[in-house]
Assembly symmetry: C2
Homo-oligomer: 146 residues x 2
DNA sequence: TGGTTATAGTTTCAATTGCAACTATTAGCA
DNA sequence: TGCTAATAGTTGCAATTGAAACTATAACCA
């Protein structure tokens, strides 16, 4: 076994993914943080509330859809409610659940951040030709259910 | 422009990369954290010191090689020194610089963590056939200099 | 030289996060 | 029913992180 030999971090998949992912996420996040005062968690919560607007999601559902834990979502939603970007009601049939939705003010901000995020994604994908983009999606599909 | 339409997070590249990368990194990190009490930063510093053993790196060089900031490295190295996993001397010609190297005890732990990390990477790559693995590397090469 | 600027690394303090404990409510079932 | 277990969400506290300020040393240059 030569398994104990030093790793070459720059060829080590988990490290490369981590650096790439952080670079991209922080690049977008810095922009919407300075312009709109949103954290990553807050923006993700807004994004799923926008997408599933009709379904009136609960905090737990937001947590599932954003792959974040419920404490993070609780705090993020708390701030969004305090800023009147999200409206929180109690579920009629299950008084434990919350019923969340973007306010008009929340939609207004969402509609500015969404293109910004899309634009950044486009910038990244520009570095790949269309064949590579297809492979990347296929690879992410295969790796994602880890 | 329809750019303001809600994002589908599950198809949004930065989000997918972030979830995948966190899943992988935390999977490995939990293992070496419970077994050896190392944080991700600490392990990365050790990995770099192992790889460039001969060069006697400074903290700044470790920071560059691990893509972490100098404050994080300063703290990580501080803990590693406290645990006698890393030896820290002052550079002879430039007394600002530190000269870092793994101790035998540090090597002993490194030699256990390295195979663990490699094994985890193998597990991940097992989900891809060799053609996909080649494409993944090519894609990461093209995206990495962001 | 000497005076300014730059660099290496640490420290400080506030903000963020992560985990466990907690409250309130509902579900399951004998 | 009434008791126990499960679920939704919040809170508290300790640990981690991030940004700026700070110390010490070296480099630059008039």
């Amino acid at each position: 076994m030569t398994d104990h030999l030093p790793l070459k971090l720059e060829h080590f998949l988990p490290y490369r993914l981590s650096v790439l992912s952080n670079t991209i996420s922080q690049g977008i996040a810095r922009e919407y943080h300075t312009r709109f005062g949103l954290s990553i968690t807050e923006w993700r919560a807004m994004a799923v509330l926008a997408r599933f607007d009709k379904s009136k999601l609960s905090a737990r559902q937001v947590a599932e859809r954003t792959a974040m834990d419920k404490v993070a979502i609780s705090r993020a939603v708390g701030k969004l409610v305090a800023r009147s970007l999200v409206n929180r009601k109690m579920h009629q049939d299950d008084r434990r659940r919350s019923v969340l939705a973007l306010t008009p003010k929340g939609w207004f901000i969402h509609n500015q951040v969404a293109p910004l995020a899309r634009g950044y994604e486009r910038e990244v994908l520009k570095k790949l030709n269309s064949e590579e983009q297809v492979w990347l999606n296929r690879i992410l599909d295969k790796l994602s259910p880890l």
